[in-house]
């Protein structure tokens, strides 16, 4: 296989001036909660892609709130089959498109196929299908994980992406418990371990960065994985209006670093030299209310460690870019 320099694959950049002002690709009238940060991320990601692509959803909040028969919020071709298989369904869609193109039954033009799952549908029950799809190297395949850090659709149960200390309905804080007792699974690293050309993290609070990442992911021939921070006011027990602000605080406190892994090379997109205290990020969210200053100190240490790891990896390659 020819070595691909994904960094150089051209794509049309979104800037403040070229922000797509046309109608959304995800219609209003969907049933997402008030202030849902996940549907905001989804709306902007879909908007960045336009309508000339195919979307595949895993079962979850985004799927049920956008597709209640006889209605659909999706303006592009969309399919949902089940919870754990969005990546596999998307591989099939891509295989179908590929052979129909080869036979001349479809125009000879790439059709990006974008699979979308939540953190449970990605990091837990869907990880096998995702791993298979990434490894098989479907050319027009992009996977988006909308990470709201728990099983929100079923009522806020912990997943492997739930952060340490978060109280959920199955990792409740209590006399003997500080909430979630494990550290968040590192999905971007798992995706990168498949030696795919493009992995990125993104946040709806940094919307241009996020929209450009999905455009780059769709442009690169080869599988891509984007891990998107998706604030959930309902599940995080937070005021609805704070969802974008919490996403911003997560990046500015180093809790959720923005970076890309392009052809295996880390690129830190937003250097956070003077992070705001992690406590400032945690305090708006009821799920962390029970934590003691010692707990916050332990979380801060871990957050800095993970951030430094990415920063050092980034320095080792090209250095941070803004």
């Amino acid at each position: 296989m020819k070595y691909l320099n994904s960094m150089e694959v051209p794509f049309e950049k979104v800037t403040a001036k070229t922000f797509p002002k046309g109608p959304d690709s995800l219609a209003p009238g969907h049933r997402a909660c008030q202030g849902c940060g996940e549907v905001l991320a989804l709306r902007l990601l879909m908007k960045a892609l336009g309508r000339e692509f195919m979307a595949v959803s895993a079962t979850g909040c985004m799927e049920v709130c956008t597709g209640p028969f006889p209605q659909s919020a999706w303006e592009m071709p969309w399919i949902h089959v089940a919870f754990e298989n969005a990546a596999a369904v998307a591989s099939g869609v891509d295989a179908g498109n590929t052979i129909l193109r080869r036979k001349g039954k479809l125009p000879d033009k790439r059709i990006p196929v974008v699979a979308i799952g939540g953190d449970g549908g990605t990091a837990d029950i869907g990880i096998q299908a995702l791993s298979g799809a990434l490894e098989r190297y479907h050319e027009n395949f992009t996977y988006i994980c909308l990470d709201n850090e728990a099983y929100m659709n079923t009522g806020i149960q912990r997943s492997s992406a739930t952060p340490f200390g978060a109280s959920t309905t199955t990792s409740p804080a209590g006399k003997l418990s500080k909430g979630q007792s494990t550290w968040k699974k590192n999905m971007p690293a798992i995706a990168a371990a498949h030696n795919i050309p493009y992995v990125a993290t993104a946040s709806p609070a940094f919307h241009l960065d996020m929209m450009n990442k999905i455009r780059r992911a769709a442009a690169i021939p080869g599988p891509a994985y984007i891990h998107v921070y998706a604030p959930c006011p309902t599940g995080w027990r937070m005021k609805a209006e704070l969802s974008v602000e919490s996403a911003r605080l997560a990046v500015n406190s180093r809790v959720f670093p923005l970076y890309e892994i392009i052809d295996g090379q880390y690129v830190l997109n937003k250097k956070v030299d003077n992070p705001i205290p992690v406590a400032d990020y945690l305090k708006a969210q009821g799920r962390f209310r029970h934590l003691t200053p010692e707990d916050v100190a332990a979380i801060t240490e871990r957050v800095n460690h993970e951030y430094e790891y990415i920063a050092k990896m980034s320095e080792a390659f090209n250095g941070p870019r803004f």
Partner: protein, 396 residues
């Protein structure tokens, strides 16, 4: 191998013949995961794709669940789609199997029937497909290699019929059919194209005409959605017959929904499915020669159930010996017998029905098993007792 000459039979393993038939059907996507005894089908398809003999995408998925998921994706993209599985693989993909007919995706799946663990067993019975009996697919059981080959083509014709648009399971007995070398007549490619035109559909993902597939159905829609799908499944029966009849017109081999063998004036009728029916026919011949009024009825179509055809085939028989290759733990009868008894209940002159489990987990089914069950059916039937199933040959 070249499978062009329809005039001369080719000696070939049935699994490979099925793969050749899928090639003749010009399947466009094959997504599959290996499991014994299905492997030879997908290995040969991989070969055909690798050598450019079949212009298709072969998706070597990481599990059966992803196999069916990918098949649903490719079928939804508008591509003719085939997969094959067996046993644990079938029940591992079961969640997706139930979704495909509701989405009306005309996938064809060969199932090399094999026992369900435990104990782990790779050999033949029908417990895999019977465990997903209510999945909503059209389900066909093949008896021999020629039939399995022909049905591989016919199944696409049925599935993709605009009046049907339903996925089809083609059952063939693992090893006892899948791994046998049989003389097979291969249809000619041109004639297959005439019989099975390329798959063209509006029911697909299309950037020019977008559609949303796989929606949430609340309580006010669910019942009606289920009824609509079941109506479609029931309504497919005449199109199955039509596909069989038109196949006969072009290729000369006539298939029926239910096959009868020497049932004229039969007092006792054996009811069976799949490849053991061939052994049963030999046993019927032997019993007939000995003066026994016995015949055989074989269900080729299992879903939609050929109710009228089965009733007609059973006619005025006094005793039915129904063979099950799977049983329902905790219930007195296996699925086939339960269904046939339920269908016969309302008949005025209904036969006495007894149920026999044969060939579980690859246990050999010799001719004398059929002689045995005919004797037992008469014994049980004449006492008036409605029997519990009997595991033939169980060593207690």
């Amino acid at each position: 191998m070249k499978a062009a000459d329809s005039a001369k039979p080719v000696g070939i393993e049935v699994s490979l013949a099925i793969a050749e038939a899928v090639k003749l059907a010009e399947a466009e996507v094959v997504a599959a995961y290996p499991i014994t005894p299905q492997t030879h089908i997908v290995e040969h398809l991989s070969d055909l794709v690798a050598n450019g003999e079949l212009n298709a995408e072969y998706v070597p998925v990481e599990s059966e669940q992803s196999a069916m998921s990918a098949c649903m994706g490719s079928s939804a993209a508008g591509a003719r789609t085939f997969t094959a599985t067996s046993s644990q693989g079938l029940i591992y993909m079961a969640e997706m199997v139930f979704i495909a007919p509701m989405m009306r995706l005309p996938i064809v799946m060969a199932v090399a029937n094999r026992a369900i663990s435990a104990p782990l067993n790779i050999w033949n019975d029908h417990s895999d497909v019977m465990s997903i009996r209510d999945c909503g697919w059209i389900q066909i059981f093949a008896e021999n290699g020629q039939e399995a080959t022909d049905m591989s083509i016919i199944s696409f014709r049925i599935a993709e019929d605009k009046n049907v648009m339903m996925p089809v399971i083609l059952n063939l007995d693992g090893f006892t059919l899948s791994h046998f070398i049989e003389p097979i007549l291969f249809p000619e490619q041109d004639k297959v194209r005439q019989y099975l035109p390329p798959y063209v559909t509006d029911h697909k993902l299309d950037v020019k005409k977008p559609m949303s597939m796989g929606l949430l159905g609340g309580p006010e829609y669910f019942t009606e959605a289920k009824k609509a799908a079941n109506d479609a499944l029931l309504a497919s029966k005449p199109y199955v017959t039509k596909a069989f009849d038109e196949f006969a017109k072009i290729f000369g081999r006539q298939y029926k929904l239910v096959e009868s063998y020497r049932t004229e004036d039969a007092e006792t009728i054996i009811v069976s499915m799949g490849s053991i029916s061939e052994t049963a026919m030999v046993a019927v011949d032997e019993m007939r020669a000995a003066g026994e009024k016995v015949g055989l009825v074989r269900l080729r179509l299992w879903r939609p159930f050929p109710v009228e055809e089965l009733r007609a085939a059973i006619g005025g028989a006094k005793y039915l010996a129904v063979v099950d290759r799977h049983f329902t733990p905790g219930f007195p009868e296996g699925p086939v017998a339960t269904e046939i008894r339920a269908l016969m209940y309302h008949e005025e002159n209904r036969p006495r029905i007894s149920n026999f489990l044969l060939g579980l987990g690859g246990r050999d089914v010799p001719r004398n098993h059929f002689q045995y069950i005919v004797e037992r059916a008469k014994e049980i039937g004449s006492t008036g007792r409605q029997g519990h199933f009997e595991m033939v040959g169980v060593n207690e």
